[in-house]
């Protein structure tokens, strides 16, 4: 069979001593920069590009890919331990992961994240191998109208993300959408809400906003009193998940893997969207939705599997079409061109060793990650025992370096400071930062695709319902909306809030 011989070729390529070595370097580096808040895979890969010039094409791409998915692993560590998403896609993990850590279950949360990621990584790697070529066809069927409808599903579902007042959640989504409007209007070139600052012409930096509202805000909140801190230290115990934990993570991991694999193929923040979507689904179908936001295992297992699966499948458009799904993939395209490989549909047939080697290396890399990270969990948890006066300045310094390194733009640092204070105020007002971030991510995509679809249909809004995929997505959105506002469920929600208050 073709697949078997292809995979055999892939594993023999990825299994050479040299390639194993570069895979290891990649995942180690990736984990490290993932753990350090703010320093993302994009900046690291950009800095390493010149070095890859000297390597074999396969080795360099295996290493760069390792950095990318290694960072997804490492990012969850920081999110769980200090509520600071090391990678934008682990912003969701911070919600429940950090609460688990506060309850002394940091070790279990980290293990769940690592095991869920490994499972999702393995499954989606095989999906890449089997379906890379047919799946590309589906991605191509998504035009502007379909993307718009997909974003509507995302936004409607985001109401379920919140665990407080619905009004506050909607307000946060709206605020996020507005923040997403900052920057140049791509259709007219008009700068909007930039306050005349040219550095904001391309919009606010997602990492800067996320680090601000999650991380800096959390640090400010912690500075209010050292008491919570001592509590946290005393209760760190039980690194390994219990039997009950395993039972409860099983289904969320499966669902997260499915959601992540599907959304990862779509260009534009697949992994981030996948994590949000998985969280929403888990909360919606959970028998105990009141646990979410207070350390629900499904709230860690689902999104972590989803973002890792998404990270793997986002290689599909790159490998089969040469089209980057996100900034990291754009860098991979650059790396391929520097090596003299023209990315496109020919890569699989002209460079089979490269194509299948990268796919095989992803599975090997995921295995390395889980082997590396499980023993390290004890070490990471020890991080929590470092006193605040040492830990906080270090975190702030790394955040600043990391955010600055993305665009060498000092205004991104001002944004971190501003959103840090804004995030602190939101915490005080009992408003959730997660719906805000979702609105911020989806807003620009929603607008861009709405307007593009309208231009393409020459102003005819029926385009959204006459195109089948778009119509199905809008129907799903309508169903979600009905379900949310159905009297019985509404009553249940209110019950939940009363318990919380």
């Amino acid at each position: 069979m073709d697949l078997v011989s292809n995979l055999a070729l892939g594993f023999s390529t990825a299994g050479s001593v040299e390639n194993l070595f570069f895979c290891l370097i990649g995942v180690l580096l990736g984990t490290l920069i993932g753990v350090l808040p703010g320093i993302g895979a994009t900046a690291t890969i950009a800095m390493l590009l010149p070095i890859t010039f000297q390597l074999e094409p396969v080795s360099s791409l295996i290493m760069l890919a390792g950095i990318y998915y290694g960072a997804q692993y490492g990012g969850s560590t920081t999110a769980i331990l200090i509520n600071m998403p090391g990678e934008s896609s682990s912003a969701v993990t911070a919600i429940d992961g950090y609460q688990m850590a506060r309850k002394g279950r940091a070790g279990a949360a980290l293990s769940i994240a690592a095991l869920g990621s490994f499972f999702a990584g393995s499954v989606s790697t095989f999906l890449v191998a089997i379906f890379a070529i047919p799946l590309t066809g589906i991605a191509l069927k998504f035009g502007a109208a379909e993307y718009f409808s997909l974003m509507i599903v995302g936004l409607v579902s985001s109401v379920a993300l919140a665990h407080g007042s619905i009004v506050k959640a909607l307000a946060m989504v709206a605020l996020g959408l507005l923040l997403g409007l900052v920057g140049t209007d791509i259709y007219t070139g008009t700068p909007r809400f930039t306050l005349g600052i040219r550095e904001y012409a391309d919009g606010l930096n997602f990492v800067a906003v996320a680090v601000g509202v999650f991380g800096i805000a959390e640090i400010l909140r912690n500075l209010e009193g050292e008491k919570t801190r001592t509590l946290l230290m005393a209760k760190v115990s039980g690194l390994w998940p219990t039997k009950d934990d395993f039972r409860r993570m099983f289904a969320p991991v499966l669902r997260g893997t499915a959601i992540g694999s599907a959304l990862g193929i779509l260009p534009g923040g697949g992994a981030i969207l996948a994590a949000f979507a998985s969280y929403t689904v888990e909360k919606r179908i959970s028998k105990t939705p009141e646990e979410f936001g207070h350390g629900a295992i499904a709230g860690v297992a689902g999104p972590e599997s989803a973002n890792n699966a998404g990270a793997q499948t986002s290689f599909i458009p790159l490998l089969t079409l040469g089209i980057p799904a996100n900034p990291v993939m754009a860098l991979m395209v650059g790396a391929m061109i520097i090596q003299g490989i023209v990315p496109g549909p020919n890569v699989a047939s002209e460079q089979p060793a490269l194509f299948w080697g990268i796919i095989a290396s992803m599975w090997i890399g995921n295995l390395m990650l889980v082997v590396l990270n499980l023993p390290l969990i004890g070490l990471w948890v020890k991080l929590l025992t470092i006193p605040y006066y040492v830990l906080f300045p270090i975190i702030m310094a790394f955040c600043s370096i990391g955010v600055y390194s993305v665009n060498s733009n000092v205004y991104d640092l001002y944004a971190v400071a501003f959103f840090g204070i804004a995030g602190y105020l939101l915490v005080k007002l009992r408003c959730e930062p997660a719906p805000l971030l979702l609105g911020f991510v989806l807003g620009p995509l929603l607008e861009e695709n709405l307007r593009r679809a309208m231009i393409l249909s020459r102003g005819d809004p029926t385009t959204f319902v006459t195109r089948p995929i778009s119509a199905i997505l809008l129907a799903i959105a309508a169903i979600v909306l009905v379900v949310v506002f159905l009297p019985s469920i509404k009553a249940k929600r209110e019950e939940v809030f009363q318990e919380e208050d």
Binding site: A139, L140, I337, I338
Partner: protein, 330 residues
């Protein structure tokens, strides 16, 4: 009014004096230039075609200069942020810009206010490469060449759209120039970069696109996109079978993307000469030539004076196009 004008003049005078002083100081150190690392600012995101050219060039220039040439991506505002950073940098040759047709010809024409003057604020070093653009269509569009496309567009005016990498980019202007010279109608659909635009053309969401030849070349080879013509005066060396637009019924049509190195104005001539010499050697290197060829980029080394004249000519060429197409961004 008078006061402000006087202050302005005083400032200008001080500025000139300072520049002269810097030039003097720099001249004395020009002999041992470079004695530390050089920063090459790329005004676009890492991974794009300008970035790829910069990294290939920087690598070889480091070997020749004996000092590391670091590529720094300062993306934003269509390249203006990075270009402005270099315009305001110390004129000592340690900060140089990978300029493009966007930063040095189009942006100043299209944008209401550009923070720098493309001619006065920069000291040209050398032109590097010229990259052809290409007119591609989805294979389902029933046209095999430019003549058939023109016939289709004339038969059903306003029905078809074309994609580009964004408003005011060289590719958008290639499309506008095509429309105005051929007298046809096409709706422009801007995207955030070539990648997403290409995605929609492959999926036949938008049937027509102007793209950089390097970014489309894989699809042209595999037949997932049909190339109708390249935008340069002569055919591209990497695709000798693709005709030019000029030879397909729109004589005189010519657009392309170019990359060139610039230093801040006031950089000592000795330093410019050293950098120009290094750029020339780099472009003559066979491995660089090979990479550029695979990338469909034509190598065009030049003297600093030739680059200065080139910038002037490009601004003169694009001014009427921008005015005709009424492209004016804030």
């Amino acid at each position: 009014m008078t006061l402000s004008r006087m202050t302005r003049r005083a400032l200008l005078a001080t500025g000139a004096a300072l520049t002269a002083a810097f030039a003097l100081a720099a001249a004395s150190v020009a002999a041992d230039f470079p004695d530390r690392q050089i920063t090459m600012v790329v005004p676009f995101a890492a991974g794009g075609s300008t970035d790829v050219v910069a990294r290939i060039i920087a690598q070889k220039m480091s070997e020749d200069l004996g000092q590391q040439v670091i590529v720094q991506n300062v993306a934003g505002a269509g390249g203006n942020l990075g270009a402005d950073n270099v315009a305001r940098a110390e004129p000592d040759g340690y900060t140089i810009l990978m300029g493009t047709v966007a930063t040095h010809a189009l942006n100043p024409l299209i944008l209401k206010s550009t923070p720098y003057d493309a001619e006065k604020d920069f000291a040209p070093i050398s032109l590097l490469v010229v990259v052809p653009n290409v007119l591609v269509v989805n294979p389902e569009l029933p046209v095999k060449n430019v003549e058939e496309l023109l016939a289709l567009l004339k038969a059903e005016p306003g029905k078809y759209s074309y994609a580009s990498s964004g408003n005011g980019t060289p590719l958008h202007l290639s499309g506008e120039l095509f429309k105005s010279m051929a007298g046809v109608e096409m709706e422009h659909i801007p995207y955030k970069g070539s990648g997403p635009a290409l995605n929609d053309v492959l999926g036949n969401q938008v049937p027509i696109m102007f793209d950089n030849l390097p970014s489309s070349s894989g699809h042209i080879k595999s037949g997932t996109l049909r190339a109708l013509a390249v935008t340069t005066k002569e055919r591209a060396a990497s695709f000798p079978d693709i005709p030019t637009i000029a030879e397909s019924g729109i004589p005189g049509y010519e657009t392309y993307t170019w990359n060139a190195l610039f230093a801040p104005a006031g950089t000592p001539p000795e330093v410019i000469a050293r950098l120009n010499d290094s750029a020339k050697k780099t472009l003559a290197d066979p491995t660089v030539a090979e990479r550029m060829k695979e990338f469909s980029a034509a190598i065009v080394a030049s003297s600093p004076e030739e680059l200065g004249a080139h910038v002037k000519a490009e601004i003169a060429k694009w001014t009427p196009v921008v005015q005709d197409a009424k492209i004016q961004l804030d």
